[in-house]
Amino acid sequence: MLTKRIIPCLDIKDGRTVKGVNFVELRDAGDPVSLAKLYSEQGADELVFLDITATVDKRKTLVDLVTQVAKEVRIPFTVGGGIASIQDVYALLAAGADKISINSAAVQNPQLIDQLAKEFGSQCVVVAIDSRCTAGVDWVHTHGGRKVTALQTKAWAKELADRGAGEILLTSMDHDGTKAGFALELTAAISGALPIPVIASGGAGSMLHFKEVFSSGKADAALAASIFHFKEIGIPELKLYLDKEGVVVRN
């Protein structure tokens, strides 16, 4: 049976893992290579590696860091941050990434999604959406959450699937870093409407939150960072809990 996936996210800035609250106030959370290896051995189902300064600083993701991480881990590995062209993707795949995640570049040039899906296959293309709710409407944000766009989250997610995205990484900026739980309604609405998997992100604070996002949130995978980095929840105990609660996970 297909299992629900637990995905630790490594936000990278200047070669270190960092974590912020609502996309700001970054804290250091350790060496990405050792964290990646630890999570891989502990039973994480995938890893996501985001160079969060890449777009802002006009800097390309650190390919050699990707290589080091890819050599150490035995699970699938997605890399994002500052990807804007087919050439960027070639470089990351050659370094050992299995999938790439794009965000701002997809908003600026939606055809890039079609091009990447054609060139590398949909399975390789994760499109990240940073969403924030204003007056009851969910809006897509870019540039690490700093810029609001004219795109509504649900319509944009649908367009991404139509253009050939393989998965959606949906981050609720309202929930991110709060540890108050995932955005269940938004996740369920998008996951239920799309033929492709949705990875829920933002707000994980307890094991119950994961159970909720897989049941009422209809997520295919759940992503979290700080609760894993700061050892508030261990992946093995989380998986045992989910299994006991009737969520199908790989143990």
Binding site: M1, L2, R5, D45, L93, G121, Q123, G166, P195, D220
Partner: protein
């Protein structure tokens, strides 16, 4: 001096990979993605693989791995242009297809109506979500390996039998099906006939079980 030399020599012996470096593994080079992670997985097992489309190198390797993610018709066209389709049909050493590599070893793929290599009689079809529409396509994630038929590839496998899958097309069940996985319906997870083995999942990304399958493949007797 002498003591140092002995100590260093002992250290050198200790740090040598357990598998002999002399094993030649050819990784068939074609227009498929995701090859680097196969190379790293083999490195973790102490084996250096050469990515090549040179028929001579493929024919003389101890093991041949046919990896891949991509689209069936363009992959077949690429293989034919370089006469690699013939090379693949003729090799005698243990041969392992992975993901698209498995599909191309079957007789026909629905993906752009593509005649494939025909090593296995299986047909490759696209997943069709069931009436409930619950299942998404592609099939992405960890799924369980079931109905294993005894085979040297399955020697000493760990208890937890999950492999990582990413695919929209699957091979039907049939002669040579060594194990199945269930998604929408049962499909062929692993195939074997003569010197050909094939795995639909990505063993290079499937943690302990995937690594063990690759290790067992490398340990198969040479032919």
């Amino acid at each position: 001096m002498g003591a140092n030399w002995t100590a260093n020599a002992q250290l050198a012996v200790q740090i040598l990979p357990t598998r002999k470096k002399s094993m030649k593994v050819a990784l068939i080079k074609y227009n498929a993605g995701n090859v680097q992670s196969v190379i790293y997985a083999l490195e973790r097992l102490g084996v250096e693989a050469e990515l090549t489309d040179d028929p001579g190198k493929i024919r003389s390797a101890d093991r041949v791995i046919f990896p891949g993610q991509g689209e069936a018709s363009s992959a077949m066209a690429y293989l034919k242009e370089r006469n690699l389709d013939q090379v693949i049909r003729e090799v005698k050493q243990p041969f392992l297809g992975v993901c698209l590599g498995l599909q191309l070893l079957c007789s026909h793929s629905e993906e752009n109506n593509t005649p494939c290599l025909g090593i296995f009689p299986q047909l490759v079809k696209r997943f069709v979500p069931s009436a409930s529409g619950q299942e998404k396509v592609p099939h992405v994630g960890w799924n369980s390996l079931e109905n294993l038929v005894e085979n040297p590839l399955f020697k000493d496998l760990p208890d937890a039998k999950y492999l990582y899958y990413v695919h929209s097309y699957y091979a039907t069940l049939g002669e040579g099906t060594l194990a199945t996985t269930h998604y929408i319906q049962d499909f062929t997870a692993i195939l074997h006939r003569a010197n050909y083995w094939a795995i639909q999942a990505h063993p290079e990304k499937s943690s302990t079980l995937g690594e063990k399958l690759l290790e067992n493949f490398l340990a198969l007797p040479s032919t």
